[in-house]
């Protein structure tokens, strides 16, 4: 094989590998969302129980993804879980926005859902959401359900 064809084939191989890399980083991993890193702000919310929420879980408002969970820690004075959320700068939420931990599907992924309020001022970097609703823990719900069923039976 002459040098030119050799170089063309090796060139095609390298280009293919680079394309694969680009596809993996943009389409498969979340590298694209690192780009917006400059224009984000962080807010906090305290929950009594965060269930299965994890760092990098989505934060959505009205079903649209507006940010992600950046950090989860435990406040040892108030005995609550502190969730730090990173929201994209393009989205603004009123001060009296409420946050609840919801589940996608019955056993699916848990995420933070934001419900905007009516305040005229907006949450800014370092702000805190006061109104929160804890995660729905399946065991408790099942427990309540069984308990109410048992009571029904007794009433009959």
């Amino acid at each position: 094989m002459n040098t030119r064809n050799l170089e063309i084939t090796v060139g095609a191989f390298v280009v293919l590998a680079i394309l694969a890399m680009v596809m993996l980083s943009l389409k498969v991993s979340n590298l694209a969302s690192y780009g917006a890193q400059g224009n984000v702000y962080e807010i906090q919310a305290q929950f009594e129980n965060i269930g299965g929420l994890k760092v990098r879980s989505p934060v959505s408002a009205g079903g649209v993804r507006v940010g992600k969970v950046a950090d989860i820690s435990y406040n040892n004075e108030q005995f609550t879980a502190v969730v730090t959320m990173q929201l994209e700068g393009a989205y603004k939420f009123p001060l009296d926005t409420s946050a609840s931990i919801l589940t996608a599907g019955l056993l699916g992924e848990q995420y933070v859902g934001l419900e905007p309020g009516g305040d005229e001022e907006y949450l800014v970097q370092g702000g805190e959401i006061e109104l929160t609703q804890s995660a729905l823990v399946l065991e408790r719900v099942i427990g309540q359900f069984l308990f109410s069923k048992a009571q029904e039976k007794q009433g009959e």
Partner: protein, 259 residues
């Protein structure tokens, strides 16, 4: 009794001297690498025979591994109503483990054995000593380009393997099992981390490439210059290369994903 003890001692010395020779060989090879940059055509020729010619097996293997994983993931996950997570299961196992490991194993079998056989035959037919007679350092002219080509190709092949495997999984999940395309990609973008998953996989592949090529080139250079010795050296390349990949994979995983 003493003969038996002596044979154990002999074997031990043998092993140690091999390890020593291997390390010295690697050191000389790394020192000769600068020569390759002054003659890039040597590198390109080797990139062709080591990298490009391994491409086909990588593509086919990647496609089927991705497809099988998607099918198996579906069978398990559908019981829990979690079949949206197919893409996650496929791509995390590919990016973290199977991509680098499969590529390392296939590379050891396809390109590593060829490298050993080629260099071993050069040694058996005294081409290497011929070069030395002509004051051409075979380390610079033969070994270093092959070594560098291997170290460069394995991460490239791994990236291609990963991409093709994810596409294979995509094909099975969307076309055969009727999942939603949007769910497939959005699950990945939320859960697969660029540094944590993809970059760690690529670092693994770099390490595997380095070790497999080192073993392959050394076995060829160090083989007993007979047809039997050549056969043994080729076998050793595949066996030791594959075992090294699997063993290192465990070590690297334990280090990277701090359990």
């Amino acid at each position: 009794m003493f003969n038996w003890l002596q044979s154990i001692g002999h074997r031990t010395f043998d092993r140690f001297s091999r390890v020593g020779r291997g390390s010295l060989f690697l050191w000389q090879c790394l020192l000769s690498l600068t020569y390759v940059f002054t003659k890039p055509i040597l590198l390109i020729r080797q990139l062709y025979s080591v990298g490009v010619q391994t491409l086909l097996i990588i593509l086919v293997a990647g496609l089927f591994v991705g497809m099988v994983l998607a099918l198996q993931a579906y069978i398990v996950l559908v019981d829990f109503g979690a079949e949206e997570s197919i893409s996650l299961m496929v791509s995390l196992s590919i990016l973290r483990e199977l991509g680098p490991v499969f590529t390392g194993l296939l590379f050891a079998g396809r390109a590593g054995s060829a490298l050993t056989a080629e260099i071993g035959l050069m040694k058996s037919t005294e081409q290497l000593s011929g070069m030395e007679m002509m004051a051409v350092n075979p380390m610079k002219y033969i070994i270093a380009p092959r070594f560098l080509a291997g170290v460069i190709s394995v991460p490239l092949l791994t990236a291609i393997f990963m991409a093709v495997a994810v596409l294979g999984g995509y094909f099975v999940a969307i076309e055969m099992l009727g999942q939603y395309e949007g769910v497939f990609w959005s699950q990945l973008q939320i859960k697969v981390d660029f540094y944590e998953d993809l970059m760690n996989g690529m670092i693994k592949s770099l390490v595997f490439g380095f070790v497999v090529v080192w073993i392959a080139v050394f076995e060829g250079y160090d083989c007993v210059p007979t047809s039997e010795g050549l056969g043994q050296a080729t076998t050793r390349t595949v066996v030791h290369g594959s075992l090294a990949v699997l063993g290192l994979d465990f070590l690297l995983t334990a280090l990277m994903f701090n359990v």
